[in-house]
């Protein structure tokens, strides 16, 4: 593999050419330096920062300029050449992911893209070209799934800070008229920090939806992983108003994340499995017609399976937050007083979570002192 011949950064991102004797696989790029700056040093095993959106291969890269390690996602879209329709979709999604990252550049609670561009290999013998799309992002320390534990009353402040950060990330997106719509444990990325209060950022913006309506996912029915989707989405319910449809979905997924962190289960899974078979999603039922049954199931599941597993001191307050966020009717979902003013109130939720986190931190310190 030859040295990089040129690195041309512009609005479209860098364009980096390498002379090679044979095209390498996307999984065999360790040692390559992209745009004279990022040296790919380790292939990440199906990286947690790569669990959704457009699928690619993840690498840990060393930034030769500032010495910081980065995450590089290499997308080998040419592999899809045999399926032209999927190829076009993939290219659109890739372009959109880049655009989405650009839109989120100023968001402090969302994983940032450092640069992007094309990594192109040129065969020396016949000048044939083979390109990979590269997205250079902040490198996290894995997702929260590897960090969470369910021992009673363990890591309560950390969990609450995580939730507060995710709530703020969703709020930042809401401010930019965007919604993440894919908040789930594998998209909450941890960053090395001694401060328990700044532990995570929200990653994978490939599936965001926009209020303006220009994104590839704006009019689409949600496809893929059903585990963390809001209940109304599983029934194919399309709420006409954007906030009630998209920001409310983010709110639900935040509520679901609370259940995951404290109970070890997805509320969506619990509700669907507890519904009578004839009213479960996938039976072409109008969501509004089965809402009463869904609400009773949701209420019972919360009362019997979720709330008893929350830490005693914060059970009531955290239980209320879960209720507000996972309310089955997206039109009334959210913090009640904010709802009366017409918003979901993610900022208020973040404040509630922060207060609870501080309270839990204080209690933990007192307990440590006492022991």
């Amino acid at each position: 593999m030859g040295n990089n011949a040129a690195a041309v950064p512009n609005d479209e991102g860098f364009k980096d050419f390498h002379e090679v004797a044979a095209f390498p696989d996307a999984e065999a790029l360790v040692g390559v330096t992209i745009a004279k700056r990022w040296e790919l040093v380790e292939l990440l095993a199906k990286s947690p920062q790569d669990s959704g959106g457009i699928f690619g291969v993840g690498y840990r890269a060393h930034d030769l300029k500032d010495g910081v390690d980065r995450f590089v996602k290499v997308v080998d879209y040419r592999r899809k050449l045999e399926d032209p329709i999927r190829l076009v979709e993939l290219l659109q999604e890739a372009r959109f992911e880049v655009a989405a990252h650009k839109a989120c550049l100023r968001m402090t609670k969302v994983v940032r893209m450092v640069d992007h561009g094309m990594l192109t290999f040129r065969k020396t013998e016949d000048d044939a070209l083979y390109s990979f799309l590269c997205l250079v992002q902040e490198l996290g320390d894995g997702d929260i799934k590897t960090h969470v534990d369910y021992m009673p009353n363990q890591g309560v402040p950390w969990k609450l800070w995580v939730l507060r950060e995710v709530a703020l990330a969703a709020r930042q997106m809401e401010n930019a008229n965007l919604a993440h719509n894919d908040i789930k444990p594998s998209n909450v990325i941890r960053f090395e920090s001694k401060d328990v209060r700044r532990p995570v950022k929200l990653g994978d913006v490939g599936r965001i939806v926009t209020k303006a309506g220009g994104g590839p996912h704006d009019q689409k029915e949600w496809a893929g992983d059903p585990r963390h989707k809001p209940i109304e989405v599983l029934y194919g319910w399309y709420e006409p108003e954007w906030t009630n449809r998209s920001t409310a979905a983010d709110a639900y997924m935040l509520g679901n994340l609370i259940c995951f962190l404290f109970v070890g289960a997805s509320l969506t899974e619990r509700i669907v499995s507890s519904l009578p078979a004839q009213y479960q999603p996938g039976k072409n039922l109008m969501y509004r017609d089965v809402l009463d049954v869904v609400r009773h199931t949701w209420n019972t599941v919360l009362a019997e399976q979720v709330l008893p597993n929350l830490p005693g001191e914060i059970r009531e307050k955290l239980g209320n937050i879960i209720r507000w966020l996972t309310e089955p009717d997206p039109v009334v979902r959210g913090e009640p007083s904010a709802r009366r003013a017409g918003t979901i109130g993610l900022d208020r939720i973040a404040s509630h979570l922060e207060r609870l986190a501080l309270q839990a931190q204080m209690q933990e310190r007192l307990q440590r002192k006492a022991s």
Partner: protein, 542 residues
Amino acid sequence: MNRLLPTRRLIPRWRKAKFSINQPDMLGMVRASTSKATVAAPSDDVDRELHAWKRTGAVGALADVLAFGVDPQQHERLAEAARAAIVSEDSTPTMRLVAQEILESGSSKSDVWQKPLDARQSVQVLRALLRNAPDDVIALVDLAQHHLAHGKRQAVERALGAALQLSPDSVHVIRAITRYWVHVGEEDKAHAFIKRTSRLAVDPWLMASEIAIAQVVRAPSTQLKKAQRAILSKTFSDRNVSELAAAVGGAELYQGNLKQARKLFRLALERPNDNVLAQAITNQSFLGIEVDDQVLRRAPMGGIFEGRSLQALVRADFQEAARLTGCWAEEEPFSSRPRTLQSFVCGALGEYEQSLAAAETGLTADPKDVSLRGNKAYALASLGRLKEAEDELVLIECHDDGSHQSFTAATKGMLAILRGDFERGRFLYETALAQFKSKKQNEPYTDCLAFMARTMTLAQAPRFEADVARAVAHYEKEPSQAALVILRALAQQVKDMSEEPTRKTVQWEWDVETNTLREKRELTRKGAPGFVVATQTPRLKA
């Protein structure tokens, strides 16, 4: 002892949610969505998450894998993770519950809808649910039912009013309110209420209720003609048309159009709910349609206790009827109807403690029910608590509008006999029998003779053998199920005479030539067998 129940109409049933949930009338006609949304999880995603869990061994990764349990198609692939979650010390109780459900794919361990609770626990649970989510309409309606079982009308109206505000188009709520007004004897209000509901014209379950209640209040139905047209043009699916067809059938029966009524009930029994089954069994003598196990099996599981109780009663299986009426009473705790039957059946069986308990529970819900009080008096007298029985009879005389005079006279006769005053006892029994005869109440007449024979036998009254012989002789002319049970208990050889030939809704036909079995879904002639061999029609020669 009596089982005089008000004439059964097809008024909407109001069961607890756990019984209603499997019945099609719970939500009425649910509109179909055009969306293709499913809970199917892409296999690649499952593989990736399973790989991540195996690589890290983290309990968080395991919890995330178990969340794929939302898609039943994936349960087999999740079995390894589920087993790991069950044995892992790091798992939460909810994770173990999810894992168990995955391993026993298809059966929910959480029992959100089927939790067996007694009334007190059930109220506690409902109150807790409503504290957490005051807009849980189903919990509100269930709580209203508990209030009604304790006669708290104000609380019932408050709860049902709140439910209606929250979910004004809910068929479950509308039918519960309608049933409530009928239950408290304000049928006009029920009719006026259901006529006002916006969903009436589009929902067959509400149309059926309106037709049935219009019949009760003897007012013209606003929906009858529309319903007849809808049935003719097959506007609604079989699942949704059942109760509507039975309601229209009931109206035809009321007009004396037996043939048309029979046709409509046959349609209703294609996919019946419990209400339709019970109505068909009640009208069996007019319609002559046999509601056998094959028909009962077509109804959704659970909540068919009324139909099964009535069926057990018809075939004189009182042990089973006693058990089933108990289940039926649990379904509708506010209704005195199942308790009346239960106390009667237990009384006929000689299980007086159970009979007394059933009557007392029923009286909590409806203290003015004279039939129940009569059964209570009978049970008390049989248990030797003669003074208390007498007090009950005094109360009955205060409330009675005259329709229960003969039953009261019979119970008084029993009391006199148990006190040793045989002549007065016999006189009172004869008075009761004369009243039954003058009112042409044949079945109560036969029952009364059997009860009298039992009392005389137990008291070893003079000429008690003659009383028994008289009861047997009359039973053979005018059979009744209760008399059959009592006389058999008195060691009499009596035949079950109550079986009349009926029509079947399904007949199986075996074609010998092609060796095929065909299900014929049409009304047969009376007494037709369930299985026939097809007869070949002779071919015309060219």
